[in-house]
């Protein structure tokens, strides 16, 4: 009897299991640091999933995606500062503001193509950065501390690190599933078609602008959600969350993990952040390896981790 061993599937299953069981491991070993690290990984993986939607599937290279982390985060931060700590108010506001921002930026940016699109999304993100850095009341450049995390109904308590982790993980899994359904739907195929050949799509009758814009808004909103989680995780927000190099980090995650694949963003987030932890333990100059690594991936392993895993299919004979 022969089965085909699909390495990618194996890795995915093991990874998901590991993520679900992590808090158990942490309870047993008392390694609180691991829980903090992986909460951050999960939150940024969610941001990467949202970017993968427009970048990997939609072919829209936005260099301003980190802006939504900031918008989501600051929505929570500003409301908390003004005394509104209920998550039921903060989070919908964060999502709404992210969506509106994405709508405006997308509407203007999507009139351009290629490198112009990259530059204009970058410009808008920088504008957001400067606006936020200029808000003296909310800390400006120094950022804003969040005294109290988003409040929901008990027993849900975001200050409980384990509960918070599972909430983030659940939202991550939900997002991965949601994006998976979206990209395989009519809408998703329209967006993928636009990525593959926009002119042809319009020639056969698709008004591609509206689909790309919708995709852009969905991605921005999802990233805003990631921002609210990040704000709660660090109990702090600052304009640095939105600086364009943070958008670069997200892009690295998506590319490293494998653009346009279901679990690519998760692979990328785990790989990048774990690599960061491990390598910075060895040498403080670890980024010197990351740079050329990225270059090599672009030149030789365009499919990223997901692509590499997919190449390994072993026929296993079993008697």
């Amino acid at each position: 009897m022969t089965w085909t061993l699909n390495l990618r599937a194996v890795v995915v299953i093991l990874l998901l299991l590991a993520l679900v069981l992590l808090p158990v491991y942490v309870e047993l070993t008392g390694s609180r640091f691991l829980l903090t690290l992986f909460t951050r990984i999960v939150i940024l993986a969610l941001a990467a999933v949202s970017l993968n939607l427009i970048l990997g599937y939609g072919g829209m290279m936005s260099f301003g995606h980190a802006a939504y982390l900031g918008i989501g985060g600051y929505s929570v931060g500003i409301l908390a500062f003004e005394g509104v700590t209920s998550g039921f108010v903060q989070w919908p506001v964060a999502l709404l503001v992210s969506a509106l921002f994405a709508l405006v930026i997308g509407a203007l940016s999507l009139r351009t193509r290629g490198v112009y699109f990259i530059m204009i999304t970058l410009a808008f993100a920088q504008m957001a950065y400067y606006i936020v850095a200029g808000l003296a009341r909310y800390g400006g450049d120094d950022g804003l501390t969040i005294e109290k995390r988003s409040q929901f109904f008990p027993p849900l308590n975001l200050s409980n690190k384990m509960q918070f982790y599972y909430l983030c993980l659940a939202l991550l899994f939900a997002s991965i599933y949601l994006v998976w359904r979206i990209v395989n739907s009519r809408f998703g195929l329209a967006v993928q078609g636009a990525r593959s050949n926009d002119t042809r799509m319009r020639a056969i009758g698709f008004p591609t602008y509206r689909y790309k814009l919708t995709c852009f808004v969905i991605a921005g909103t999802l990233c805003g959600l990631s921002g609210t989680l990040l704000a709660n995780h660090t109990d702090f927000v600052s304009p640095a969350m939105m600086y364009w190099t943070r958008s670069g980090d997200l892009i690295i995650m998506v590319v490293l993990g494998g653009m346009g694949s279901t679990f690519g963003p998760l692979f990328g987030a785990v790989a990048l952040l774990v690599l960061e932890e491990v390598l910075s333990g060895i040498t403080e100059y670890w980024q010197i390896i990351l740079g050329p690594l990225l270059l090599l991936v672009v030149l030789f392993a365009r499919g990223g981790i997901d692509g590499l895993l997919g190449k390994v299919r072993q026929k296993v004979h079993h008697d």
Binding site: L108, R111, T112, M119, I120, L122, G134, Q287, P292, V297
Partner: protein
């Protein structure tokens, strides 16, 4: 009034510095169709090299010349080792690969020079003021930046308009395939153009070093401005880069100088102080957004296709 003249000169000086940076970027983009995010790293290296060589040789000018040569060499090396493999690829690949180079260079600099940044002190003969108009004194050094930059701009003009190399550059900017068909040694041309761009970036970096900063990450901050200028001016167009750079230089400098006062009319002193730099920075992006929406090919597009 004297303050206004001084600010205008500052705007001009900053604009010219930006022009040097943007010229290299737009050349490389226009001719090799290469989006080079690591252009800012060359700018940073120019500054670091200058600080180091000036300290070794004890001479500011000698240090500057050596730094220029070093940056040129590094630029050409990068072109041969990494950039060559990127030609013809998707712009996305360029952005990703050169972003990787930024990370690499930032860490390399940290490794070699440490995280603290450096300073490049001015020699006494430059560290004075010059009376340019009755009652108006201006920094001699900043004046020399203006002079040097204008000289380089003139040199570029002559190079691009009057020499054979320049002709190839202009031809390449508007139709890349053609120059290959003309039997020109493309590889050499590209290496030279990239090297020229690197040298310009390095020059900008070393010139601003005594007055602004020499630190890791300085490239990233100014890179965006250079890109904005490239887009506003028109990709591949040096003339466009010149006009856009001066424009941006003025807007940014005058904005920073007078926005605070403007805002203070309507808001509290504290709000104005934090909001002003932020808003004046925004002005430039707003300008770019407007140009992109109304005239996406830029003010002086070089490409005819």
């Amino acid at each position: 009034m004297t303050l206004f003249i001084e600010q205008c000169l500052n705007g001009l000086q900053f604009g010219l510095l930006l022009f040097l940076l943007a010229a290299g970027l737009t050349l490389v983009f226009g001719i090799m169709d290469l989006v080079n995010l690591a252009h800012g790293s060359l700018y940073m290296l120019g500054a670091y090299f200058a600080a180091t060589f000036a300290a070794w040789t004890g001479s500011f000018v000698l240090g500057a010349v050596l730094a220029l040569a070093a940056t040129l060499l590094v630029g050409m090396a990068v072109e041969v080792i990494a950039m060559r493999r990127l030609y013809g690829r998707d712009h996305l690949d360029h952005v990703l690969a050169t972003f990787g180079l930024i990370l690499f260079f930032d860490e390399l600099v940290r490794l070699i020079w440490g995280a603290g940044g450096m300073s490049l002190p001015l020699p006494s003969w430059l560290n004075t003021s010059v009376r340019i108009l009755p009652g108006v004194d201006y920094s001699a050094y900043k004046l020399s930046i203006i002079v040097v930059s204008l000289a380089v701009a003139a040199f570029l003009y002559v190079l691009v308009m009057r020499t054979r190399l320049g002709m190839l550059i202009r031809a390449g900017a508007s139709n890349r395939e053609m120059i290959g068909a003309l039997g020109v040694n493309i590889k050499l041309l590209f290496t030279l153009v990239f090297g020229l761009g690197a040298a310009l970036a390095g020059l900008a970096g070393l010139m601003q070093a005594p007055i602004l900063t020499v630190q890791i990450g300085m490239g990233e901050n100014i890179l965006i401005l250079a890109f904005v200028i490239t887009v506003i001016g028109g990709i591949g167009s040096i003339r466009g880069a010149f006009v856009a750079a001066i424009l941006v230089g003025f807007i940014d400098t005058l904005g920073r100088a007078y926005f605070t006062d403007l805002l203070r009319l309507a808001f509290t002193k504290e709000t104005a102080a934090t909001a002003a730099p932020a808003l004046s920075s925004m002005l430039i992006y707003l300008l770019m957004a407007i140009v992109l929406v109304i005239r996406p090919e830029g003010l002086f597009p070089a490409s005819s296709k």
